[in-house]
Subunit: 279 residues, 2 copies
Amino acid sequence: MSDSRSGRAFVPGHVTGFFSVHEDDDPIRTGSRGAGLTLTDGVSVRVEPADERSVTIDGRRVEIAPVERVLDALSVTGRVEAESDLPIGAGFGTSGAVALGTAMAVNRAFDRHLSMNELVRLAHGAEVLSGTGLGDVVAQAHGGIPIRLEAGAPPHGFLDAVPATARIEYVTFGELATEEVLSGETETLSAAGRRALSALVEEPTLPRLMLASRRFAREAGLLTDEVRAAIEAVSEGGGEASMAMLGRTVFALGTGLTDAGYDPAVCRTHPAGATIETE
Amino acid sequence: MSDSRSGRAFVPGHVTGFFSVHEDDDPIRTGSRGAGLTLTDGVSVRVEPADERSVTIDGRRVEIAPVERVLDALSVTGRVEAESDLPIGAGFGTSGAVALGTAMAVNRAFDRHLSMNELVRLAHGAEVLSGTGLGDVVAQAHGGIPIRLEAGAPPHGFLDAVPATARIEYVTFGELATEEVLSGETETLSAAGRRALSALVEEPTLPRLMLASRRFAREAGLLTDEVRAAIEAVSEGGGEASMAMLGRTVFALGTGLTDAGYDPAVCRTHPAGATIETE
């Protein structure tokens, strides 16, 4: 339908509430189990052919390992322009979003004829090999409030979802290096993630997701002081909040953070997965 | 988030381009393979507790077998009010949409704590046992332009998708009884459906989906005269159209039907699957 040779895709943000790590020799089978929320705040990626490869986010030149891998795999020389509603490196899955959005936009701009599952496999594999994420891409391709029951990209990964929608607020205090946490000892974290998943599967509701996420953040030892303080302030006001994995970010249902005196960004859970946009 | 004890869900319409029938003793494993488009025109379903069971579409009292089965399975006495953008029985998957929307809205109104996959299993099984559909529910839960690679509800069914979006036009000439076609001899139809799926998997694009669908409609012997004439008129104008399975309905990409002189309804492919709505 587009007359110019370009492509554009929107990929929702994704905050993970809890997860466990699942390693495999095959990057497509590697990933995480867990659950989180996809967000109407996300990343829009536009790709067009160019003589030289370039990747920008909000106009700033960047180098994002999984995006470079996607472009390498598709043998593409192009200009990738991403616009993000979300801070980078703060637990919103922006690296996965740019990688998946790039794969989808390239597929359209360069007529590559790949299916959605093939694009998800590509972006997921690029994230895993780069050590930047384990479950954001499959969650972002799904949309809604995904529960990742089996790790990995299609056909291995298997998802369910919490059938709900909500207004979401969030505040960010800064970055947390995903690579550092994921390359360290993850057994304690994964054991806590498996317990959280069992609790959510038993009752797949939004309040249970928040409760399981808070317990996970505590048990995994990832809470920083300002994150802990914000979560407690929301709880004291009768609200529901937890920490975005992996970032120094707190997300809350409804008006939880506002009620607690914070000045949060506001969005909603996103009903759809990543989608091609018309230009 | 809702203060009243009610629930509301929106389920997109779904036109199937081609399919093959897959029978099993287990209704959850029974279903169809194939592909189609989910539509922004769909069905909104509201459920609230009541002393007596009632189901209405656009205010008219109806009895829809799969909806009755869903209410029976959930042991619910309630008022089900559906509003449909789409004609009933014309190939838009409205029976599946009302069944899935009812399951989702009941889950919310009556705090049943079922997951999305469990709701899809319930509505899919109800459709299969009623003989009213084989693949609409799983497609409508997925959204976008779903390719049903393996038949049945989760965890058996397996979907891929065409990563695209489009303006869609449609005209309807009347009903075609799904039950009659599905209860008849389906081997010729299924063989044509399997060929169409192979062709689409080879090149998962929207033009290929339309081409494979047209060939299927011809080979399966389901074309009626007015449907054939509309598809040919769109083709002569350089457009892409096919027949909605199973209904006397023609759907076209872009402005295909308008260009051919018809006065079609207009919508778009729907980016999301069925979603809970806030009230």
